[in-house]
């Protein structure tokens, strides 16, 4: 059942929210994919009961009765927020992220907090302290990351919608690997207040769903100005649903960047090119473009990330909250021990790199150059989108890979970010919609648009979705 139909059936009370919630909770219990770190069992039923009693009496919220999962690096008041780390294993968020507030206002039911790479450091879901998330399509494969639980939970039918976050592809990677819709909005469209910091200058929360409508209505609920986020848009409200169907590729220009296909598996490229052909069939003009700077994107992304991440991670000292080891040594030794014993290998690697490149000695050498490079990349993409409406590409050069295949090879892992980080560096919207399968594993098509063209990108995604038709979801 698609999201739109489900919402209608909830409002007309054809669906009993309480029963539905129980059904989903049971599915989570039965599932073996480790998609959730915390399940909000008790409150889900309480909330469902309350909502059920009131749904006919009052105007239903946009997300009334939908079971929404939240990535575990986003604050939900009163619920544990681990960021996938031992450091925060027992940390309960004392406040709501702005987006949490907003989806609750729209009467969503938060079903639980999804598994993720530790502090979002990873692209495969394998670095979580709570164990890897498995790909529902093939349990020996990774689900992508870092919003790994979010993508996997949707594919496995454990929730209706997921809130993820995308710093360098963290929504789009699990979307393509799990065969679900993932959307990284324009930077600033969605408030970051309550999203644990990784690379503050480029990251954003975003919606994930089984269909584009689901992503659009979740985005609509979350988007808009927030005084608690300085980079937030001025506009108060957005509409991404009423005009979602009102779209044609007629007269649109599609840019196809050749570098994005060069390193990609043939079957992956083929599915994306099929999508491009479909757009052309519907009247779009296709232009081949070359983005030679693509190879600099990963370097630029990682330098930005290292420096900002190391700074952001300073707060985790285990003194105010978080993991604290038994010791009576000096303050500095205590903090070191707390961090040493509770942070994972990849997190430490990034903190060390970040500390190194932001040292006084290298001032002006790494981070400031990375910021400059980010600006140059941004300008390049502005230029591309002055000529084209969309850029279409794969979101990953391959389908979901084997668990443990790349975990000991950080460089290979980092390269998987090549096809996604451009959108973060340039602040533009980019979404992934599943469009085919290769050896039983889903392949998504990535569509990017210019600044603030979020609606247009969603419209294009939905057009492809309609062409593709129903997905036969994995049954487990």
């Amino acid at each position: 059942m698609n999201t739109k139909t489900k919402l209608e059936k909830i409002k007309s009370q054809e669906i009993d929210i309480e029963e539905e919630s129980q059904k989903f909770l049971q599915k989570i219990t039965d599932s073996n994919i480790n998609a959730f770190i915390t399940v909000n069992e008790k409150q889900v039923i309480e909330k469902a009961k309350k909502l059920k009693e009131n749904i006919s009496k009052q105007k239903a919220g946009k997300l009334a009765g939908l079971l929404v999962s939240v990535k575990d690096n986003i604050a939900v008041k009163g619920i544990r927020m681990t960021c996938g780390s031992k450091m925060l294993e027992n940390y309960t968020a004392p406040y709501n992220a702005t987006i949490t507030e907003r989806v609750l206002e729209e009467q969503a039911i938060i079903i639980g907090k999804t598994n993720m790479d530790e502090f979002a450091c990873g692209g495969s879901g394998e670095t979580s302290f709570f164990g890897p998330t498995l790909n529902p399509w093939n349990n020996s494969r990774v689900p992508g990351g870092s919003s790994s639980g979010a993508g996997a939970a949707l594919a496995a039918g454990l929730c209706d919608l997921s809130i993820g976050s995308d710093t360098g592809g963290s929504i789009r990677s699990p979307a393509t690997f799990c065969g679900v819709v993932g959307f990284k909005p324009t930077y600033g469209l969605v408030s970051r207040y309550g999203l644990s910091d990784m690379t503050m200058g480029i990251e954003t929360p975003g919606p994930m769903a089984r269909d584009v409508y689901g992503a659009a209505i979740l985005l609509e609920s979350m988007a808009g100005n927030d005084p608690k986020d300085n980079v937030s848009t001025k506009q108060k409200q957005f509409d991404f649903t009423t005009k979602l169907d009102n779209f044609s590729f007629e007269g649109k220009t599609i840019a196809v960047p050749k570098e994005f296909f060069e390193g990609s598996e043939t079957t992956v490229s083929q599915i994306v090119l099929d999508a491009v052909e479909e757009m052309e069939d519907r009247g779009a003009d296709r232009i081949e473009i070359s983005v030679p700077d693509t190879k600099f994107c990963v370097a630029t992304y990682y330098l930005n990330m290292y420096a900002e991440f190391a700074s952001a991670m300073q707060k985790f000292d285990g003194l105010k909250y978080g993991f604290r080891t038994e010791t009576d040594s000096t303050l500095n030794e205590t903090v070191s021990a707390n961090r040493e014993q509770s942070l994972g290998k990849e997190v430490k690697r990034r903190i060390l790199f970040g500390t190194f490149i932001s040292m006084k000695e290298f001032q002006g050498k790494w981070y400031s150059k990375a910021l400059q490079a980010k600006n140059i990349i941004k300008q390049k993409y502005e230029k591309i989108f002055s000529k084209a409406d969309f850029m279409v590409s794969p979101a990953a050069p391959f389908t979901a890979f084997e668990i443990k295949e790349k975990i000991d090879d950080p460089l290979a892992m980092y390269l998987a970010d090549t096809l996604v980080s451009f959108a973060n560096l340039s602040g533009i919207p980019a979404g992934v919609v599943p469009f085919g399968f290769s050896h039983g594993l889903p392949v998504g098509v990535q569509i990017a648009g210019g600044q603030n063209k979020d609606l247009e990108v969603l419209q294009a995604m939905q057009t492809l979705e309609l062409k593709r038709g129903e997905i036969k979801w994995p049954q487990k």
Partner: protein
């Protein structure tokens, strides 16, 4: 090379809310950790809100009063200064790049001014941290090493204090100042003394350092590496904290959550229109407007609240008379009690009553001072004392005159017999009994009245 002293002065700005969140800043009356939120305690996911506009306005105005040039039309970054310490919830402090440079106040050059957020309060002994103070806006004023003696540093700070008081920019409960003092003496490397919370403390710390350093140089063991020392308030000495590494690395990073600020030339012009008088301009105006001597005007203008009180009183009584009284009596009594005018809690209404009585000569100067002292020490109102004294400062002069005449019958008879000198003798006795609290005229009248009977 002579002694060189440079100061870094931290001033807590007087705002209702903190620098990057909406928490109340009234930490004096609050229980520990009650004025906090996810932002000023660095909970995972929290972000700074925009820069507190009132704080920015006060910061800019202060810099203008210090004669600084404002860095307009440029991107002004707020940076993160990283170091681990329990009072710093994020383990980095947000601190702006200098927004003002090249000022001068009373001959001391101001190198730069920037704003930052205050850390919380860490109690070393108990290991407890109170974050009520965390995030309160501060400015740091950095001078050039232009002061040559500890006394010069103290005098400069006193003047700086007056300027800041004039703007009403600082939170008085923050102790107004926290100072880090840099001092280098002949033959020694520079030493930074941290944690000085009062002007007196600056003087003591610097005097101690000057002697200590000179002794070290004399003994042939001068300070060779820059060091940081801690001022021990209770003992008035400085203790070694650490060697200052040139490699002190705070890994400054522009805060990605705070877009750079741009201060426009127009907004600075607007602020300039809105600047209060400085002690110097105020003294000049008082001198001209009330035709009082320069020295008196300077003294009155040295405290903004004192000057305000003077202007109110000078509208009701003779300004020249009021000015003299403010300088010769009020200021002196305040100094004696090391109190500021505002701390004295005197009201201008009360002062006016007292001065009116003095002006009408219904009390003597001496009595006036007595009443002022009572007002200061016993918090009694001038009105009550004046009424009690019945305008005669508590003496029934007629009965005292009678007494005197009974005790000096011979003198009284001599006067009645035409020996006029006896009057002076009797008046002298009355004045002695009333301890000079009465005007001679009053005494003469009373004696004459008594003799007539």
């Amino acid at each position: 090379m002579a002694t060189k002293i440079g100061l870094e002065i931290h001033v807590q700005l007087k705002t209702n809310t903190k620098m990057f969140c909406e928490c109340n800043t009234n930490f004096l009356d609050a229980k520990p950790n009650t004025l906090i939120c996810p932002i000023c305690t660095a909970q995972p996911g929290s972000k700074p809100m925009g820069i507190n506009e009132r704080a920015l306005e006060l910061a800019l105005k202060t810099a203008l009063l210090l004669g600084c040039k404002i860095n307009t039309g440029k991107e002004l970054f707020v940076e993160r200064k990283h170091y681990f310490y329990p009072d710093l919830p994020a383990n980095y402090q947000r601190t702006s790049r200098p927004f003002a440079v090249e000022g001068e106040l009373y001959g001391v050059r101001i190198r730069e001014v920037h704003f930052e957020e205050d850390p919380g309060r860490y109690e070393l002994r108990t290991g407890e941290v109170d974050y009520n103070r965390s995030g309160i806006p501060l400015i740091e004023i950095v001078t050039e090493p232009d002061m040559k003696t500890p006394k010069e540093a103290r005098d400069f700070l006193k003047k700086m204090k007056t300027v800041i008081e004039y703007l009403d920019a600082a939170k008085p409960e923050g102790g107004l100042f926290k100072v880090d003092a840099n001092i280098s003496t002949d033959g020694n490397e520079r030493v930074e003394v941290k944690n000085i919370n009062s002007i007196k403390g600056v003087l003591k710390a610097l005097c101690f350092e000057e002697i200590r350093q000179k002794n070290l140089a004399r003994q042939g063991t001068p300070i060779k590496k820059m060091e940081t020392r801690h001022f021990e308030d209770t003992q008035m000495i400085t203790t070694f904290l650490r060697e200052k590494e040139t490699g002190d690395d705070y890994r400054f990073l522009p805060d990605p959550d705070i877009p750079p600020l741009e201060i426009s030339a127009e907004s600075v012009e607007k602020l300039k229109q809105d600047l209060p008088e400085t002690p110097t301009t105020k003294a000049k105006r008082l001198k001209e407007e009330y035709r009082i001597p320069k020295l008196e005007a300077d003294t009155i203008a040295s405290e903004r609240d004192l000057a305000d009180a003077f202007e109110k009183v000078a509208g009701k009584v003779n300004a020249k008379f009021a000015s003299k009284w403010f300088v010769n009596h009020l200021k002196r009594e305040l100094n004696f009690r090391t109190k500021t005018f505002i701390e004295s809690k005197l009201s201008t209404k009360e002062i006016t009553k007292l001065l009116t009585a003095l002006e009408k000569r219904s009390i003597t100067k001496h009595t006036g001072v007595d009443i002022l002292r009572k007002m200061l020490d016993e918090q009694v109102s001038a009105k009550a004392i004046l009424e009690e004294h019945g305008g005669k400062a508590g003496f029934d002069v007629d009965s005292i005159a009678k007494e005197v005449m009974l005790e000096n019958k011979k003198a009284a008879e001599d006067y009645r017999a035409g020996k006029t000198e006896s009057l002076n003798f009797l008046v002298g006795k009355v004045m002695a009994k009333t301890k000079g609290r009465l005007e001679p005229k009053q005494c003469i009248e009373a004696v004459k009245k008594g003799l007539e009977k």
